[in-house]
């Protein structure tokens, strides 16, 4: 029986003028799996996520979500796929002019036909999952960085997506909050059986979250495999790349 792939990226190529950001990148993500993508700043990690949801268009290559191509389709068709994908932005991207409740209800009102009571229940339920029930009527400006990340995560899961894309979920957070967010990602994954693609620099986050990992260098995949081999590899680039993170992770452990 053929394995059920949630996401498949084939030979993706993307460049900005002369700078090649993604060069022949391919990956497969099975249902319920957590994949972590590492890479230096500017190595194309975020560009990869943006290509998957159609915010950027690659020069060549293919992207399939549950077997359906994400490229070369109409905007309506793309939006149908987008409804099944959640995206956690690096800066949370909460809507400044709306309260937490309005932020959470926003996709529900526009994309689904829930009654106001059902919406209220969903909002309460996701806020409970991220342990921020009291923040419902607060404005994003009143929240700390970690709280914003949690609310953004709540907004991502409220539509019950099949795949969640995380763009640097722990960047800018203190180590304790970063660990909490990483654990929350795992808990939600187990709870909702959602598939995750996490782009991060944070080895601790990756060790908590990842089933397997990919490392990007100069737009190409330098390593693909499980997390344990990644941190014990003899590859000079990977050793250098992870040296600080490994030390920090060992200290944390």
């Amino acid at each position: 029986m053929a394995e059920l792939l949630t996401l498949e990226v084939k030979n993706l190529k993307k460049s900005f003028e002369d700078l090649i950001v993604l060069d022949d990148v391919s990956l497969k993500l099975k249902e319920g799996e957590n994949l972590v993508v590492f890479g230096k700043s500017g190595s194309g990690k975020s560009v990869l996520l943006k290509c998957i949801v159609g915010l950027m268009y690659p020069e060549s290559g293919k992207i399939f979500f549950e077997g359906k191509s994400v490229l070369d389709i109409s905007l309506d068709e793309l939006n149908e796929i987008r409804k099944q994908i959640g995206f956690l932005f690096q800066g949370s991207a909460l809507y400044d002019s709306m309260t937490v409740r309005e932020n959470l209800e926003f996709p529900l009102i526009r994309n689904f036909k829930f009654s106001s009571k059902e919406r209220e229940e969903k909002v309460k339920s996701v806020l409970e999952k991220v342990s921020l029930e009291d923040a419902m009527d607060k404005m994003p400006a009143e929240l700390s960085g970690g709280m914003k990340k949690r609310i953004a995560l709540a907004r991502t899961i409220i539509t019950e997506p099949k795949l969640i894309l995380y763009d640097e979920p722990t960047t800018g957070l203190d180590p304790i909050t970063a660990k909490e967010i990483s654990q929350l990602i795992v808990d939600l994954q187990e709870d909702l059986n959602v598939t995750s693609l996490v782009v991060t620099h944070d080895l601790i986050c990756a060790q908590i979250v990842a089933d397997h990992a990919i490392v990007l260098k100069d737009g190409k995949i330098r390593y693909e495999g499980d997390m344990k081999q990644l941190t014990t590899t003899d590859d000079v680039f990977l050793k250098n790349f992870f040296s600080n993170e490994i030390l920090e992770a060992e200290r944390e452990n």
């Binding site: 994908i85 926003f106 526009r110």
Partner: protein, 267 residues
Amino acid sequence: MEIIKQKYNPVAFSKALTQFFETMAGLSLFSIKFFQNVFVPPYEFGEVKKHMDELGVKTMPIVTVTGFIIGLVLTMQSQPVLARFGAESFLPSMVSLSVVRELGPVITALIFAGRVSSGIGAELGSMRVTEQIDAMEVSAINPYRFLVVTRILACTLILPILTLYVDFLSVVGAFLAIVLSMGMNFDLYVNEVFSSLQFSDIIPGIAKTFFFGFIVGAVGSYKGYTASNGTVGVGKASTSSVVTASLLILLVDMVLVKVTVWLWPSY
């Protein structure tokens, strides 16, 4: 000679000219998109109403003061000139016609551009650089329809109302100046104003404010929606919104006055 050469730099001039035409082309395509989206459901009436409330309230204090002062100052400046020609009795008619036909719509639109266009540019620009617009897009929500169409529509609908308000206040301001200088009574003043004003004076004056409102909303939204380079880009979007919107208002006003005269030669 050297200074003139430095000031007149053909490369910089051609770059600025290219940039201007690029902005105009981008703005035109952006405006066309408005008409492609405005009649397509879901309609965001709540958002339009919210923006109309905000924009109207935001601009109300400054247009109140401006409207009153325009009428007052215009009368104070014109009275000695008309007196020189023995035409003081035409003062109420002259002031009301000037205000209703030209000064009211254009000055209100310029103030509106300064107050609102920059605000929209900054707000949408900040949403762009903090990925809030991208977040809407990946949630399968059309950010153009939710953020831009509602703002342009609100600007287009609120500016004519503000202009009528300014016109009224200017006429009141003019009355105050006339009472102080000539001692004209209220009934005579009202009679003079309304006998000289016709619908053909009021309608084109108000009609063009729909265009001005559209310009303010479209320019502010375009500059904000296409902002880049972080907070610097947001600042640029805000400033250039006011400059571009004000310039376009004056250019379009010139064209609309010509069109009005061409359509109604008696105007």
